[in-house]
């Protein structure tokens, strides 16, 4: 299977983000009988967000397995299957429910390879629909990816496009380590070009979505898309923004960020997770600790989620996470006034 990091060719057929994931799952299951999908309502229901769709009819209930509502149990089951020769893909219905499965992911999956001196590996994938914007309120809207990026032994990815959703999934299934894929609920219906053949988007490689000279904006998942839209508006004002889509949080592609900031001399990090102790803090510190610090013409700025549980009211919900307007305003201040 080839690696595919370039943008798809013009004329490539389009799929939705959800369809791209489903196609990747189907291709992985066709290619390798060790791969199976399980989780709550992934069978005839087709998945809470319709991602598994008709897979149960194509692969049968032995490979697309409905589970009881037992998040800790099924996360552990993924570990057990992975260490004995299978390649499980587990769907946790909402990423918030990962809180019920922390023990198996953090204490077991992440540590077994190291703790056993390299004698066993844990090739499992967990798919987690996350993010706000659906009116699902405080327990169904969180962005918890930074928690897992804090854990050695795990890999964490966050696709923003249908192309990357398929390519990162196939890379994750091929990876001998536990990989968590944070999918964004608002993106499932978004469309984009997706090559039909299987391909991998390498884990740990960011993508420069737009080249620019005045400011670097780093984001992932839906924030990379909002940053891209903000950059187009800012171009109309004469501000030339470079947009980096992280795609992977662990491992993080620091060289790509560093090279960009060396060029633009300004950095804005945008993320949906709560700002305090988040991804932005880590990226800021990495820049501040490196020789890139000397290239900065303005303080590093972070735009993160507000320090609140996600509210139900749609106006409040929008106010709690960075929107396109917020990114435009922060970028403009950073370039024009020297601070966000």
């Amino acid at each position: 299977m080839p690696n595919d990091v370039a943008a798809p060719e013009v004329g490539t057929r389009e799929l939705s983000y959800a369809e791209a994931i489903r196609e990747g799952l189907a291709q992985a299951m066709e290619a390798d009988e060790r791969v199976f999908l399980f989780g709550e309502d992934v069978g005839v229901y087709g998945g809470a967000f319709g991602v598994s769709g008709d897979l149960v009819h194509r692969f049968g209930a032995q490979r697309v397995i409905d589970t009881p509502i037992s998040e800790l149990g099924i996360a552990g089951a993924a570990v057990g299957a992975a260490i004995t020769g299978m390649k499980p893909v587990l769907e946790l219905q909402f990423s918030d429910f990962v809180t019920l499965a922390m023990e198996q992911i953090v204490n077991q999956a992440a540590k077994i390879h190291f703790m056993f001196g390299g004698k066993a590996s844990v090739p499992m994938v967990i798919r987690l629909p996350g993010g706000s914007g659906t009116g699902a309120a405080a327990q169904h809207s969180q962005s918890l990816e930074a928690w897992f990026a804090h854990v050695p032994g795990l890999k964490v990815v966050q696709p923003s496009t249908p192309h990357d959703a398929k390519g990162l999934l196939l890379a994750a299934i091929d990876d001998p380590n536990p990989v968590l894929i944070f999918e964004h609920k608002l993106l499932y219906k978004t469309k984009g070009p997706v090559p039909a053949a299987p391909y991998r988007v390498p884990i740990g490689q960011a993508a420069v979505r737009r080249a620019g000279t005045d400011l670097t904006i780093v984001g992932s998942s839906i924030m990379a898309l909002r940053a891209g839209a903000a950059a187009e508006r800012l171009a109309g004002e004469g501000i030339d923004v470079e947009v980096i889509d992280l795609r992977s949080l662990r491992p993080i592609d620091f060289p790509t960020i560093a090279a960009s900031v060396r060029k633009t001399h300004r950095l804005l990090v945008v993320y949906e997770g709560v700002k305090t102790m988040g991804i932005g803090a880590e990226i800021s510190a990495m820049i501040a600790e490196s020789d890139v610090f000397d290239f900065l013409d303005a303080p590093i700025a972070r735009l993160g989620g507000a320090d609140v549980p996600l509210p139900y009211n749609p106006v409040l919900e929008k106010a709690a996470v960075p929107q396109e307007d917020d990114i435009v305003a922060a970028a403009r201040r950073l370039v024009r006034e020297g601070h966000a």
Binding site: F36, G80, A82, I83, Q108, M115, G117, G118, K119, A120
Partner: protein
Amino acid sequence: MTASRAAETAPVRPFERPELAALDDATLRAALSKMHLIRKFEETAEASYMRGLIHGTMHLSIGQEASAVGSTLPLRRDDYILSTHRGHGHCIAKGADPARMFAEFFGKENGYCRGRGGSMHIADVEGGNLGANGIVAGGLPIAVGVGMSITMQKQDRVCMVFFGDGATNEGAFHEALNMASIWKLPIVFVCENNKYGMSMDIARAMAVPNVADRASAYAMPGVAVDGNDLAAVVAAARPAVARARSGGGPTLVECKTYRLRGHSKSDRNLYRTKEEIETWRENDAIRRLEKELLAQDRFAEAELRAIEQAAQQTIDSALAFAKASPDPEPSDLTRDVYAE
């Protein structure tokens, strides 16, 4: 062995219990040898700790040898076990090399986990031991995945998962038993009820009198046995393993036993009396078995002492091997965080 065949091949012993009569001399010799190996391993580990040769803590299974050896006796080399923080006995019972175990205990590079795991994480993956576990009930959901893996790969292996009485009050226990039962997985759940979860008496922590009673909620057989009676444990484990192997589904076996030492090195025995410990010491599994074998003329005293001495020699050389083994290199610190 059928009753008629036993009568042909074994001398008539009118007072011998059928559970003991079912075990031939070679099997008993091997089982007794393993029980002594476990006892000597634990005593030597304790002495090493007292002399400051090792750091950290340890959880000794002195008094629980019959449960570990009897439960695993019907297992094949290629069957799996999952173990607990009090897991030295399970590891030896499954066939691990005490020298490499001691090396791990001493944190040495040629220990089972290259010194990265220690007492609480010893795994002998090649020997089917998928690891001790530092988290109470941590192995239970993993066993579900191992069972799924065995079924999906159409193997005739069995997974035996050990846990203590304390683990049965964790959600993981209930999630795991439920999933194992609805999917008829080839798992044997072995609860080593040693009466205390650290200091908490199980009678204060559980509303039913026996852990085995909990099996009825999951529609699987639940069997409580005298866990200090090797022959009784084997008699309970054999049908459970056979049922699992033949596709009949899981069984919950409760071995009622007692740890003669404290929970760990910090335990001052404030929650139990000297008299209680003394009563259980008189019920010691090794002493009981030897007494019965002598009374039945199955073995001579000299033969029993030879078995014990051989075990002591094995442990002495294991200790010497561990002491002479090299420490890991600090430059290798981050090796094996991720599988390649």
